[in-house]
Amino acid sequence: MPSLQLSLTKPFFSLGRFVLLLSKAFASLSEFSLYRKNFFIQMVRIGIESIPIVALAAAFSGAVTTVQTAYQLVSPLIPRSTIGAIVVPSMIMELGAVVTGFILAGRVGARIAAELGTMRVTEQIDALEAMGLNSIGYLIVPRVMAGVLMFPVLYIAASFIGITGGLLVAEFSGLVPIGEFVQGARSFYQPFGPYFGLIKSFVFGFVITSISCYMGYFTEGGAEGVGKSTTQAAVISCVYILLSDLVLAVLLL
């Protein structure tokens, strides 16, 4: 019975602790000058260092989407320019943000959780607190802010590279000429698409960094605890990316 009670109350306990952690983190924004250097370091680690893998994944997503869309369009009644009309909105509204989100959940989320988890189990977080520093502000604010600011940049890069990848594959494999591809993309272009993608990227950036900071900051146990936090950070971030993706689509489209 006590274990049932524990498992029923645990989600509420975790949610409450998560909200408290973030409120304490953002209550310390007045001391941002102490965290400024760390903020720029995190912008590089989360944003700049992620560009190669995001670019690679985006280019292949765009290319594969183009090939598969062409494969589906067997009817001669459907113009080949439809490929551009499908690939471009797919990249802008969905793949650019979601593919980047999944990659960053693994790359950035796991890294944040492992860093903070190791700092927790080796008493480095206690050392920060013992010095009189706000460890939550110092460790969490720069990471979440860097994630929220850099994720849209990565999203823009991913969308641009993904579309370019699709365009090049369409041209060089003879599926559809560049002109037709662009014409299709322009004829079905929705002006809200890029805004929708940007909103999603802000949300995904917040989801990944805040969940990973939470998992890492409250790590318990030794090396095993760090491993558990790291895995959970990546998995839970992916789950919440999917959930928020659906919620935003329902609310905004």
């Binding site: 080796t122 008493e123 480095q124 206690d126 050392a127 607190e129 013992a130 010095m131 009189g132």
Partner: protein, 257 residues
């Protein structure tokens, strides 16, 4: 002065500290002793508010640190230097930057002044040449000494040492003991040493408090420790004698040791 008044602490329903009261006077070196897992480190974390007691209170210079806002607690903590068990050096920085970290964060000194202070602190711990080394390149004893240099960089009034000699060879342990003693004399700080190493206690402490079975079992001066007839305390010290390999406690009258 630090006063611990009737504190209780339990984790997941399991009591770790029960009705522990203690007074640490200005300028003295107090050793908190006890077996591994007896709650010494938990008590230590209460002294700087890293843990909050379930009952009771902790007063630092008369201020109840569990009843003040977080901002004020951080001001109180800045009077402390803490040497954690594993050193707790920041992996992302080299030794120099670790020692410089509190100076860069909490003072407005120039980089040249910070460099001078860091070099002074590293000299105090007899490690003048390790500034460029990362924590992973240091031995256990060196890590603790660099961490000690970091702990004293802001000239604290209180220094807390959590198991300063655990896991170190006897020679390095002696070096650390001498450092603790020298720092107490030179900086006139109040030192709290959490340890189960009786050799350290007898060579550096003015007083000792023995935690046993979640309670403060005994407290007194080192002279009183020598004369104590308390069987539990004597058994603890005796076990250390065998571990250290040298006699540390004189026989009380009427008992055989």
């Amino acid at each position: 002065m630090i006063q611990v008044e009737h504190i209780y602490k339990s984790f997941n329903g399991k009591p770790v500290l029960q009705d522990v009261s203690l007074e640490i006077k200005e300028g003295e070196t107090m050793a908190i002793i006890g077996r591994s897992g007896s709650g010494k480190s938990v008590l230590m974390k209460h002294l700087i508010g890293l843990l909050t007691p379930d009952q009771g209170r902790v007063l630092v210079d008369g201020i109840d640190i569990n009843r003040i806002p977080y901002g004020e607690l951080r001001q109180v903590r800045r009077q402390f230097g803490v040497l954690f068990q594993g050193g707790a050096l920041f992996d992302s920085m080299n030794s120099f930057d670790n020692v410089a970290f509190p100076l860069r964060t909490f003072t407005k000194r120039t980089e040249a002044e910070i460099r001078r202070e860091v070099e002074h602190c590293l000299n105090v711990v007899h490690l003048p040449d390790v500034g460029t080394k990362n924590p992973s390149e240091l031995s256990g004893g060196m890590k603790k000494r660099v961490a000690l240099a970091r702990a004293i960089s802001l000239r604290p009034r209180y220094i807390i040492y959590d198991e300063p000699t655990s896991g170190l060879d006897p020679e390095t342990s002696n070096t650390i003991d001498e450092l603790i003693k020298d720092l107490g004399d030179q900086l006139n700080v109040t030192s709290i040493v959490v340890t189960h190493d009786m050799h350290s206690v007898l060579s550096i402490a003015d007083r000792a408090a023995f935690i046993y079975a979640t309670r403060l079992h005994w407290a007194g001066t080192i002279d009183e420790l020598h004369q104590s007839t308390d069987e539990v305390l004597r058994a603890f010290v005796k076990a250390n004698e065998y571990a250290i390999g040298e006699p540390t406690l004189s026989s009380p009258a009427g008992t055989s040791s």
